[in-house]
Subunit: 444 residues, 2 copies
């Protein structure tokens, strides 16, 4: 039966392809929806951001791993709740059924279970794929802070408020929307769409409006809510968490927020978001740039015997950080170098391409970063403009008379000063100039 269907599908698709070939074809020059190219200036910025993030991971003993960009579809199934519809599937081309990864967490759990690893402090940098329409908020943001909540507190709170056990996840998804929608809309979703009793929704409202610090944890531990076992466990862990924040000196960066829910199914304990606040207005949040939490049962879902490996992790939304930094760089008209070339070898006359190549070859062999024009007979002005546009610090200018005297002209591109340098001391002189220029920059 299944094979018969496959045959019929194949026949129809072939027929469709034939028909398509007969139709006039219009080619559109674009990237796929929701994706973009990155220019050298953007890549230079990314390189800086990544190196900042990686140095933070390394400062805490992190190790890198990598997993493939696609996974068996089965691996991703049943892990993302309502977000599963956003997964990109690969076409069935007669092999395994595959999907692009939706995040790095589920593949990481698969990695742990498959490689029988129960102890690792890993970081991973990679693209993930979601079929949604990302709306990018732009702006200038200076301050970070972390929102924190705990899944056990949420579950306990739902139970305490009278939410039926089998509705916890779907009500949790609704609460998760409170950062974008007013309570009235979320309440409507709970009551009209998800069938929650009105008074239960109102009970929930009394809690999700609360936010604060360790004093809120203390208050809730004395509240009736703490009669619920799950809520009590969550609140006790929260108390310990705030104690650790004090030891690390970061308590003032943390807000305990009972409306924080995180949409994904797999979280089991503490959950958090890092939020950028608008410059000067610490109350106004403008978007989450990192988020994560504890997921103690996900690895067990991949283990034949269900052995659990407790995990906690954070995901940094680098795309959003790039967007914000690009907007800021644009506003400040900051110029970031996109190349690292130290010396440009220019010729003042025609027929010197071979001389340029010889000098380049010598300097490359000494480890210097060097370019020359790929044209046979470029104009001197065009060569010097190239250096200025790219902020290349030094230019060598060669001409017949210099070559005969056994010297070359060395030019500081920024100041346009020129010096004669003996050909056989070229490398040493260049190194000295570069060293002086970089120490001057440091002093400036």
């Amino acid at each position: 039966m299944m094979n018969k269907i496959d045959e019929e599908v194949a026949k129809l698709l072939q027929l469709k392809a034939q028909l398509a070939e007969d139709e006039p074809h219009k080619f559109v020059l674009k990237t796929a929806k929701g994706t973009r190219d990155h220019m050298p200036a953007q890549m230079a910025l990314r390189e800086k951001v990544f190196s900042t993030i990686i140095s933070c991971f390394k400062r805490h003993g992190g190790e890198a791993i990598d997993t493939p960009v696609f996974e068996l579809k089965d691996t991703l199934t049943g892990k993302y709740g309502e977000d599963s519809k956003l997964i990109y599937d690969l076409a069935d081309q007669g092999g395994e059924i595959l999907s692009l990864r939706y995040d790095l967490t589920v593949p990481f759990a698969r990695f742990l279970a498959m490689n029988k690893i129960s102890n690792i402090k890993r970081y991973q940098i990679g693209k993930v794929y979601r079929r949604d329409n990302p709306a990018m908020t732009r702006g200038r943001y200076r301050e970070f802070y972390q929102c924190v909540n705990h899944r056990e507190i949420l579950n306990g709170m739902f139970e305490f408020c009278g939410v039926p056990a089998d509705s916890f996840k779907t009500i949790c998804s609704a609460v998760d929307k409170l950062d974008k929608l007013p309570w009235e809309d979320v309440r409507k979703e709970m009551v009209s769409e998800k069938g929650l009793a009105e008074e239960v929704a109102d009970n929930i409202n009394k809690f999700v409006i609360k936010k604060g610090g360790s004093e809120l944890v203390t208050a809730l531990l004395s509240d009736d809510l703490a009669t619920n076992a799950a809520a009590k466990r969550g609140l006790e862990e929260m108390r310990l968490f705030f104690e650790y924040c004090d030891l690390y000196g970061i308590t003032n960066k943390v807000s305990f927020d009972l409306s924080l829910a995180r949409g994904l199914d797999y979280y089991t304990g503490i959950i958090f978001e890092a939020v950028l606040t608008d410059d000067g207005q610490p109350g106004e949040t403008v978007g989450s740039v990192a988020a994560g939490g504890r997921y103690d049962n996900l690895v067990g879902m991949f283990d034949a015997k269900g052995r659990a490996v407790p995990c906690v992790g954070i995901s940094v939304g680098v795309e959003r950080i790039f967007t914000l930094l690009e907007a800021r760089a644009l506003a400040e008209q900051a110029k970031l170098r996109t190349n690292e070339t130290e010396v440009f070898v220019a010729s003042a006359q025609k027929q010197l391409v071979r001389e340029r190549m010889k000098i380049c070859s010598e300097l490359w062999d000494h480890g210097l970063k060097v370019e020359h024009s790929y044209k046979q007979n470029p104009k001197l002005l065009a060569q010097l403009q190239y250096c200025e546009e790219r902020s290349i610090p030094l230019a060598i200018i060669i001409g017949e008379s210099e070559l005969q005297k056994g010297v070359v002209k060395l030019r500081k591109v920024a100041t346009r000063e020129e010096f004669e340098v003996p050909r056989d001391k070229l490398t040493t002189e260049i190194r000295n100039y570069l060293k002086n220029m970089s120490s001057q920059q440091e002093r400036a």
Copy 2:
């Protein structure tokens, strides 16, 4: 008609899905065929390889760009000749029709045309996706060399030998297999499968067995082959190429090989492969680790007015390089550090987790790379073993008596020497030890 087909396909696929749901489902824990996870040790090696490659690109003025991992399917269509069947398509989920990129070259050409760039020295690092069965050769290789040929010479040679013009590409694909198959097999493909006359195939054989240096270029320029205009153009460019190789001092690394063809359709001029030769046996090649060539017409295919942007490029097969280096590291039992932790903060007694956290926090604030155990009361031996396994150079050991005296113990992990250090001089002392240890390593 097309819509009718789509409806029927949808109905059948739905039926198939229903049938599938009824069947018992077995979950398999694996990565997709042809993909693999990378462990921290492998990632540390990759980081080294990438930084070597990137430093080479930067030494020559390269700038980084990035393009999305998938493209409109149309963008890839008609660019890869017989290899097009290896492209991964994404499922049609009701949006654009997309495919995973097959290489970085075609997306780069799309990037140039779309962003109207005609001048860039770019490098790009990214994964590409091909539905084939890669067979990895393993071994220890020390020497590199470049094989070179020219598409115009190949085309001229085909014309000169009597290959019909519309068979150039398919015969070129056959010649491309000469590095893996004996001439007899390739001849059979040309004659039986591709309908080439036997004597034409034999004419081709006289050329494709030739390889050499600039002297072969000179010889062919005096050969009857040079009466063919395309071949002559190609040979003249080859002569210039060898002149440039002399200037760069790399002629001895280059072999002009008339059997080198490169399967892809888009090359128009010089083509080349970097081949690793078996250690000590420079004649035996064991596989290509980089390849590329000139493709002057590819960007024009994306431009509405067909404006050409001449390009030349090389692609480094980093996966193969990793495989070879991993095999070597395994054979040499080399140990690569997978973390950069400088100091581990250990406790000698129970109930010191808060003291450990305070010290870590202080050292992190000073930019040091520091770890401590996440356990409440870890055993001292387990903590010191962790340091030794991970080659962490320094350990701090704290105990009640030291804390009362205002000191900590600093231990050199490799030699197991221990010193008492005043608590308030800790950071300075650690920096001194690290500096001395790294300068000792450099001297060793």
